[in-house]
């Protein structure tokens, strides 16, 4: 699009942009269309010579009268408004739209149905439109097959084919495809669990808006961005326009201070919070996590924290970006980003303070994530299996934590212990990274010595049950300690199954005893 650089006339640029954009462009009669048009022009310029986001007016400049939270600021920036308050409904420019094999085909169906009509109509009126319906931006859509991959379910396989056809047709830049289901390693593009892959592949950036057709899209809030889950219809709209009407949420502020004890993980922190405010305590609200404990967490732990805000009903979770964030992003993204931070005088709906040094390892008992109990209170609960995996508890740090417990005990697990790395990168880490204090052993070696199942192919696995032949699915009414995010009836397969949500420490400790176990039994 270098040609638009040379085009001084807004009119001709507009048309050219429309052509380029397909049906994401707005009618020339509306003010919005003109704004959008300008934006597109400047985008084309900056894509050649300057940072992509520099055209945006930072909401932080100018005369800010009222303090804003970082969630409000991100949405203000994305809606090109100087000031926003909770309750405002605004059209927000989306930086990244993510979808996967479960909701992608439906979203694509809506996109084609809704915008396909425009294609015909506009074609009859103007020669500037392509006949092929185009998504709003082929570089801002990330499509990640991850849910039902290693299954013989024909419809599940077909759904990945639908994604592939769409990505080919639309020339989608980021499609993490898998074709050879018999050996995931033969698919270099394949990643695995979308929320972890988004971070690892550099799609999460501070200050941006990331929407995804998955409720755990809120995970990306760990990067100081606005991230939330949407449905197929909304995603279909974003596919065509790059925008979505969003309501600005009020923010709940969680201040966590104190040194993190060596037997706790971020999972304990979020289970504590959900237990405190209930599964609906943050409905429609943003959850902002701050404090010295949060600052001490690595990125994957911050992701765990934000991942489960939806289990409290939260719209998004957010952690202010800092040096830990910037370091993680080094080499992962070449796009510039602009972190935003809550103003000192920002208004919060309420504030919660926790002294983390006094917290004990927790679980969420069946069948609700807010059914909080101390792990040691459940020591008489006999379990049948342990599951370590998912976007919540299947990251490299989660497996390192589990390995630490197995290493400290030197014993073997007493119940089947299933390991499902979230992504191909995590899987590789299990086989290559030395576990600290192990004398150079890898996680996979420690897991093997402890008698765990061999780490499985990376995917969402049995976290949400899935097709009957899903690895480690609960096809019988078992009792499972799991590092995943939900323990609703039937979540992992069987309706009468019982799921105890726990940290990787607690999960590993429980595997070693066959009962729900406080990891301090092994980590003291």
């Amino acid at each position: 699009m270098a040609s638009s650089l040379a085009s001084p006339s807004p009119t001709s640029s507009f048309i050219r942009n429309k052509k380029d954009l397909g049906f994401s462009a707005f009618p020339s009669t509306s003010q919005i269309a003109i704004q959008k048009c300008k934006k597109q022009i400047s985008k084309k310029i900056v894509s050649v010579m300057a940072p992509q986001q520099s055209e945006r007016k930072p909401a932080t400049t100018g005369s800010v009268k009222t303090g804003m939270t970082m969630t409000e600021k991100i949405l203000a920036k994305a809606s090109e408004k100087p000031q926003l308050s909770p309750g405002d409904n605004v059209w927000v420019n989306v930086d990244i739209l993510m979808t996967h094999d479960v909701c992608g085909p439906g979203s694509i169906g809506i996109f084609k149905k809704e915008f396909g009509q425009n294609a015909k109509w506009l074609n009859s009126l103007t020669v500037y439109y392509h006949s092929v319906l185009k998504v709003w931006d082929r570089e801002k859509i990330v499509i990640i097959p991850d849910h039902y991959i290693f299954t013989s379910d024909e419809r599940a396989n077909r759904n990945v084919d639908i994604l592939r056809d769409f990505c080919t047709e639309q020339n989608i830049k980021y499609f993490y495809d898998i074709k050879d289901l018999s050996n995931f390693k033969a698919n270099p593009d394949y990643k695995g669990v979308c929320h972890v892959a988004l971070a690892q592949e550099g799609h999460c950036r501070p200050g941006e808006v990331l929407l995804g057709t998955d409720s755990h899209t809120c995970t990306a809030g760990a990067f100081g961005q606005f991230a939330t889950g949407i449905g197929n219809t909304d995603a279909g709209f974003v596919l065509g326009t790059g925008k979505l009407l969003l309501k600005v949420p009020p923010t709940l502020r969680f201040v966590m201070d104190g040194e993190m004890p060596p037997y706790l993980l971020a999972k304990d922190l979020i289970l504590q919070i959900i237990g405190e405010i209930s599964v609906a305590g943050a409905t429609y609200k943003a959850m902002e996590f701050v404090g010295t404990t949060v600052e001490s967490l690595n990125m994957e732990e911050r992701m765990t924290l934000c991942n489960m805000v939806v289990e409290a009903g939260g719209k998004n979770g957010v952690v202010p970006a800092d040096s830990t964030t910037f370091k993680y992003l080094e080499g992962k993204t070449s796009l510039p980003y602009e972190p935003v931070y809550s103003d000192a005088q920002a208004s919060y709906l309420s504030e919660y303070r926790f002294d983390i040094s006094k917290l004990e390892p927790l679980v969420a008992k069946p069948h609700s994530p807010d059914n909080r109990a101390l792990a040691r209170e459940c020591k008489d609960v006999k379990i049948d299996r342990v599951y370590i995996g998912s976007c919540t508890g299947g990251k490299t740090e989660d497996f390192l934590a589990a390995a630490k417990v197995f290493l400290a005990s030197g014993k073997k697990v007493k119940v089947p212990t299933f390991l499902v790395p979230a992504t191909q990168k995590v899987w590789l880490d299990l086989y290559t990274l030395p576990v600290p204090g192990s004398g150079g052993k890898t996680c996979s070696q420690i897991f093997e010595e402890a008698g765990c199942d061999t780490p499985a192919s990376p995917s969402c696995g049995a976290c949400l049950g899935g097709p009957k032949d899903t690895y480690a699915r609960m096809n019988e009414p078992k009792v499972c300690v799991s590092t995943t995010n939900r323990n609703f009836p039937g979540r992992m397969g069987h309706k009468e199954g019982q799921i105890y949500l726990a940290s990787p420490y607690t999960a590993a400790a429980s595997a070693l005893t066959g009962y729900v176990t406080d990891p301090r039994e092994f980590l003291q």
Partner: protein, 257 residues
């Protein structure tokens, strides 16, 4: 709890109801503005917002999915048997993940999704939402407790209820994404009750919802209950959904020009 907790409330800085007005929200599909919409994705549940709409477009194509209910569009009512559930009915209970391979925008699979609606409810629900060997429900109104539709963002959930033949859900409160998806798809009309009616109504009771009067009448018990107004989702509902709203406000080109 072991951790000390201090809760400081910044009281009335923002006092709007967290439950209802929510996320911007509702977008109901009216067939009039967007006749090219597939009725499978945008099914007017109640043509209140498009009283002059060609009902035939949506209702004939969807005739099979309106079993027990009678939709009186002129007086804005839903009428039929109700199915009562409790609190925190999550999306895994509404449509378990093993059925998510079904793509809602595919007509045949849409129907199939409907046949599995609420199949994830525990066996303690002796009366099932859809009886064995049936594909549609005889209950056109679902009555729930707090936090209805929590969990996943799967749009399959409101779609399954709608495809099964449910017209409206009346709950104490909703999880955000389910509420928005209900409105976005127009599959079920998500209403909120002021009282906790899931404990006063029984599955099989005959009920009527008078939208105009924000009222739910249980004919079996003779009791009436107040419903909350839909909130600031109104403009989007009136436009006929997010696509119609966006077209109306010039965000995207109109389909009907």
């Amino acid at each position: 709890m072991a951790a000390s907790l201090t809760r400081i409330s910044y009281s009335s800085a923002f006092t709007f109801s967290a439950s209802k007005t929510s996320v911007f929200s509702p977008l109901f599909a009216s067939s009039i503005e967007v006749p090219t919409f597939s009725p499978l994705t945008v099914k007017p549940l109640c043509s209140t917002f498009a009283p002059h709409a060609a009902h035939a477009i949506s209702f004939t194509t969807h005739a099979t999915s309106i079993p027990a209910s009678v939709l009186d569009t002129s007086t804005k009512t839903f009428h039929g048997l109700c199915y009562v559930v409790g609190d925190n009915i999550d999306t895994d209970q509404i449509i378990p993940a093993e059925y998510l391979t079904l793509v809602p925008s595919n007509p045949a699979e849409y129907e199939k999704l409907g046949s599995y609606a609420l199949i994830g409810l525990p066996s303690s629900y002796a009366t099932r939402f859809i009886e064995p060997n049936e594909t549609k429900t005889k209950y056109s109104i679902v009555i729930g407790g707090a936090n209805f539709g929590c969990g996943s963002s799967r749009e399959h959930a409101p779609v399954a209820l709608g495809a099964a033949g449910a017209k409206a859900v009346v709950a104490e409160s909703y999880a955000r994404i389910f509420f928005r998806n209900s409105v976005a798809t127009g599959e079920v009309y998500p209403l909120e009750s002021e009282a906790r009616i899931c404990e006063e109504c029984k599955t099989g009771d005959m009920v009527t919802i008078e939208l105009g009067e924000s009222l739910l009448i249980n004919h079996s018990t003779g009791k009436e209950y107040k419903l909350k107004s839909i909130g600031d989702a109104g403009p989007v509902i009136e436009a006929g959904g997010i696509f119609a709203y966006a077209r109306k406000t010039g965000m995207i080109p109109s389909q009907s020009n």
